[in-house]
């Protein structure tokens, strides 16, 4: 079990890094799909079958297809030669900011004394358990998320509406 977990974790990390360093946007997107698969497999190892299936259906099956669709529709070319020196200031600023954030996170994590959590029940990731906690303990955040999505849909419709009155 542990060997499988570390293999999956390595796949997730490497594909995650590849997403960032690939120049070609289509390849970046495909590495992100691989990353999602590794995460779904880790969920499966943790006995959370429902979350694993939803991870694949929603992220890899729907969102990434739309991403690829947009990338192909815009037909992004690879950046021209000499791109290494462009946006030099942004690159320095961005990488130093990212380093700072990572340093902060590592500092906090090592400082924090993790309280021992409750042991998980074996069926915590099953469809029934997820549904039960969504519709009892977390009903309010769940419904608020749905309103948030509705607002986003209405906003998208208004933005996409043609100007003809």
């Amino acid at each position: 079990m542990q060997i499988i977990f570390f293999l999956l974790a390595a796949t997730a990390l490497i594909s995650g890094i590849m997403v960032v360093i690939q120049v070609n946007p289509v390849r970046s997107a495909l590495f992100l799909v691989l990353n999602f698969f590794a995460l779904a497999a880790i969920y499966l190892l943790a006995n959370a079958q429902f979350i694993a299936a939803i991870q694949i259906i929603v992220y890899a099956g729907a969102i990434m297809v739309l991403f690829l669709f947009v990338i192909m529709l815009l037909n992004l070319r690879q950046p021209e030669e000499g791109g290494a020196h462009r946006h030099l200031g942004q690159k320095i600023f961005g990488s130093s900011l990212a380093t700072a954030v990572i340093a902060l996170v590592i500092y906090k994590v090592f400082r924090m004394i993790v309280p021992p959590g409750k042991p998980l029940t074996p069926d915590f990731g099953s469809t029934e358990m997820v549904a039960k906690s969504l519709f009892t303990d977390y009903l309010l955040p769940f419904e608020m998320t749905s309103i948030l999505l509705l607002v986003a849909v209405v906003g998208a419709v208004i933005l996409a509406r043609s100007k003809v009155e």
Partner: protein
């Protein structure tokens, strides 16, 4: 408990199912050509073997010996990966579809070793009884679009790219209706496991409780398989052959196998969800399952022979403004009826 022998039994079972599936695909292609020939007052293939029965073999041989051409400017790795994804996603759903009740006795004695076949449901007529079976199928099926998208993009051809774009738009639109149309079945059966869904239909098929759901599911399945009223991705007069334009030899063969594999899987899944799966009187369960599946496959072919093709805006209109609201209405109606008519 003898692990190697159990794994051996499992491998044999998977192989048998897989070989039957591949043979089915090969003969569904022949069946389609024959039935289309009948509809169009032609003979269809009748040269190879009696009644053209060996035609799939000849087709496969022809494909294997054809030149395997990769167009210049294509992304070689992705160009090869695309047919692999298409084929794989067509084969994977087979693992959770129950095709019979019990196919083996509970215990079996091989070489003097007593095997307990109830382990991992080895004696049941299903490869893996997963408790999220239906979600697994949706997850795998939603991956199929990657094969087409990657193939269309990596071919370095305008027609391929346009075909891939059309397909991804179509898949996204109809996946919603497909997913929502089975919620009614899930509400009645109360489980995601396909084995339990079939068992829940012991007294009555779900098509009786879910007539609207059945029609919606079948329509959305037609669109997901990109079959005739919805086959805009390979609309010959506009796009040559859609995303498959640049493919040749066995790579094209794998794309075709994927396409017909989707038809077979869609028919088998419709049988499982709405038509009682392997249940039926007198005949053995496997026969019932195959009979129902092949009737649905025939329906797929029949529609191809008799229906014209949608225009793309009609396709989008139909998916978003007809199928999606109707499937939501279906969920609402099912909920109301279940609430006020306790069984």
């Amino acid at each position: 408990m003898n692990l190697p022998l159990l794994i051996g039994v499992m491998v044999v079972k998977i192989l048998v199912v897989f070989v039957v599936f591949l043979t089915t695909i090969a003969y569904v292609v022949l069946m389609e050509r024959k039935v289309l020939g009948f509809i169009q007052f032609r003979y269809g293939p009748n040269r190879v073997g009696p009644w053209g029965l060996l035609q799939p073999l000849a087709d496969a041989l022809k494909l294997i010996f054809k030149e395997d051409f990769t167009p210049p400017g294509a992304n070689r790795f992705l160009f090869v990966l695309a047919p692999v994804i298409v084929g794989l996603t067509a084969f994977l759903p087979l693992a959770v579809i129950p095709f019979a009740d019990k196919i083996l006795p509970d215990t079996l004695t091989i070489y003097g070793q007593k095997l307990d076949l109830t382990v991992a449901s080895l004696n049941r007529g299903v490869i893996a009884d997963v408790n999220i079976g239906l979600l697994y199928i949706f997850a795998v099926a939603s991956m199929a679009v990657y094969g087409a998208v990657i193939g269309g993009w990596s071919s370095n051809n305008k027609y391929s790219l346009l075909g891939a774009l059309r397909l991804s738009a179509q898949m996204i639109s109809y996946e919603l209706a497909l997913g929502l149309s089975v919620i009614g079945v899930l509400m009645i059966a109360g489980t995601l496991s396909l084995v339990k869904i079939v068992e829940a239909q012991q007294h009555m098929w779900f098509i009786v409780y879910q007539p609207l759901g059945f029609i919606l599911f079948l329509t959305a399945a037609f669109a997901e398989c990109a079959r005739t009223p919805f086959d805009l991705i390979e609309c010959e007069n506009e796009l040559v052959a859609g995303y498959q334009t640049e493919y040749s030899s066995m790579k094209w063969g794998l794309l075709m196998m994927g396409e017909y594999g989707h038809v077979v899987i869609a028919s088998a899944l419709t049988t499982t969800l709405f038509l009682g799966g392997w249940q039926g009187p007198f005949l053995p369960p496997v026969v019932w399952f195959l009979l129902k599946t092949f009737i649905l496959i025939f329906f797929f072919i029949w529609v191809r022979g008799t229906f014209p093709r949608f225009r793309f805006d009609q396709l989008m209109y139909f998916g978003w403004k007809v199928l999606l609201p109707l499937s939501l209405v279906n969920i609402l109606l099912t909920g109301i009826i279940m609430l006020y008519m306790p069984r």
